[in-house]
């Protein structure tokens, strides 16, 4: 066991963890932040995407110890005092989800994209979300959701 200290959604957590504990399991099972999902568990589907030190990462392919000293944002950290983030609002308004399983990862990847590129083209959105799989919507409404958020965040 080793001690790690991470800041998750603005709160510092210090925990004793086994080195082989994956970051996604640390978030879900130790910190009880179950908004981050385990999908494929093989670095393909992106359901486990969180923001680590400013960049989107797949938390099923990182050990929690690798995040020691880092800053993490999960889907739970997006809304501000109950007010939905424009991305969350966009997925609501544009029906960007059906079952919702991929949604937290989609939103965190889109968050990373819009940080780097506030006015992406449709193709840039598709490329930005190429590490996230959705089996319900066929992606069209997800693209519209991100376009909605990008426009709202620019205004």
């Amino acid at each position: 066991m080793g001690s790690i200290s991470v800041t998750v959604n603005g709160t510092v957590h210090t925990s004793e963890v086994e080195p082989r504990l994956l970051l996604v399991h640390y978030l879900r099972e130790v910190l009880d932040l179950t908004g981050t999902h385990v999908g494929c568990d093989t670095t393909s589907c992106g359901a486990c995407t969180v923001i680590l030190n400013g960049a989107a990462v797949k938390s099923c392919t990182l050990f929690a110890v690798q995040a020691d000293g880092g800053k993490i944002m999960t889907i739970e950290g997006l809304a501000n005092n109950g007010e939905l983030h424009p991305l969350q609002e966009g997925f609501w308004e544009k029906h960007g989800l059906q079952c919702g399983y991929c949604t937290p990862g989609m939103i965190m990847s889109a968050y990373d994209l819009l940080q780097r590129n506030p006015d992406p083209s449709e193709q840039e959105i598709r490329n930005g979300l190429s590490g996230n799989l959705c089996r319900c919507t066929g992606y069209h409404n997800i693209i519209k959701s991100v376009q909605f958020a990008a426009e709202k965040m620019r205004s």
């Binding site: 080195p19 393909s44 992106g46 960049a55 989107a56 797949k58 690798q66 990373d112 590490g131």
Partner: protein, 289 residues
């Protein structure tokens, strides 16, 4: 999936890392971005007793001018390569290929050193460093070694690195004037791994004649290789369609054992090499002026 248990070390300097590696030897694996190693550990195909995480060594991530070329720290991520103005201007093919690796989340974590040292036969960057004639610099408790990219890849997932060595820097020579580069690949639809990828560097004289060419091929065989026959055929040619087709047809000549798996037969891979070599050469030639 859970990996087997391991002892974890996170050194903050290269000297501490090489000491740990010397101490633990073959029981240890180095962890760079881990996006090749961790999946293997989750499947228990790799069960290292000790993991030495290079992720906390800030001095291993850099992109610097070196003469008219570049010196790149092994822990530089693919996203950093893809977005670096310095890489785009001095080794544009490296930025292009880095941007074609996997997906944005993987590129945010995956590193150039990890990709090269892992030597996955379907990795993109091995073909690029072969075509760019990069030199790979190692660190250990002994001397530094410099290994030519051509000699670095030995076999499937096997490099010339010794058990006590860390790949620490990738040194990329400057490109001559009137040189174009391009990387073209046929990627797997889910993983984006290269079923076949071809990197081309083409230098063109004022008369339109090809003065020199270097070609690297990945995905086709057990390791990334140069394509000497195609390079020879291209050099001295006028780079018209028939010259490019003839040279591209030779790009798989040095590969005797084409990979064969669920993604592509050996015969199909051999065909893809000629197609993607032609695309890479044509794009490189068009960028050379």
């Amino acid at each position: 999936m859970t990996t087997s248990a391991f002892e974890y070390h996170a050194p903050t300097s290269v000297s501490d890392a090489v000491q740990l590696l010397a101490q633990h030897g073959e029981n240890a694996k180095l962890l760079a971005g881990g996006h090749s190693l961790v999946p293997l550990m989750k499947l228990r195909l790799a069960r290292p007793e000790v993991l030495i995480d290079l992720g906390k060594i800030e001095s291993m991530a850099y992109i610097r001018e070196q003469g008219d070329g570049l010196a790149i720290g092994a822990m530089t991520t693919q996203t950093q390569l893809e977005t670096s103005d310095l890489v785009k201007s001095r080794a544009p093919m490296l930025a292009e290929a880095a941007g074609m690796v996997a997906d944005p989340q993987v590129r945010n974590v995956g590193t150039i050193g990890g990709s090269l040292a892992h030597a996955d036969p379907a990795g993109d960057l091995p073909a690029v460093v072969v075509a760019l004639a990069a030199k790979l610099v190692t660190s250990s408790t002994g001397d530094h070694r410099t290994i030519e990219a051509d000699d670095f890849f030995v076999d499937l997932l096997t490099t010339d690195l010794r058990p006590t060595e860390i790949l620490s820097e990738i040194s990329i020579p400057g490109l001559p004037p009137h040189t174009g580069t391009a990387y073209a690949k046929f990627g797997n639809k889910a993983s984006h791994y290269a079923v076949v990828g071809v990197a081309a560097v083409v230098t063109v004289g004022a008369d339109g004649v090809c003065q020199s060419a270097r070609i690297g091929v990945t995905g086709a065989g057990p390791k990334a290789v140069g394509a000497a026959s195609a390079e020879d055929a291209l050099t001295g040619s006028n780079l018209d369609d028939s010259a490019i087709s003839a040279a591209a047809g030779l790009a798989g000549d040095g590969i005797t054992d084409f990979n064969e798996d669920v993604h592509a037969s050996a015969e199909y891979r051999a065909h893809l090499v000629t197609v993607y070599a032609a695309r890479a050469i044509r794009a490189a030639a068009s960028r050379a002026s």
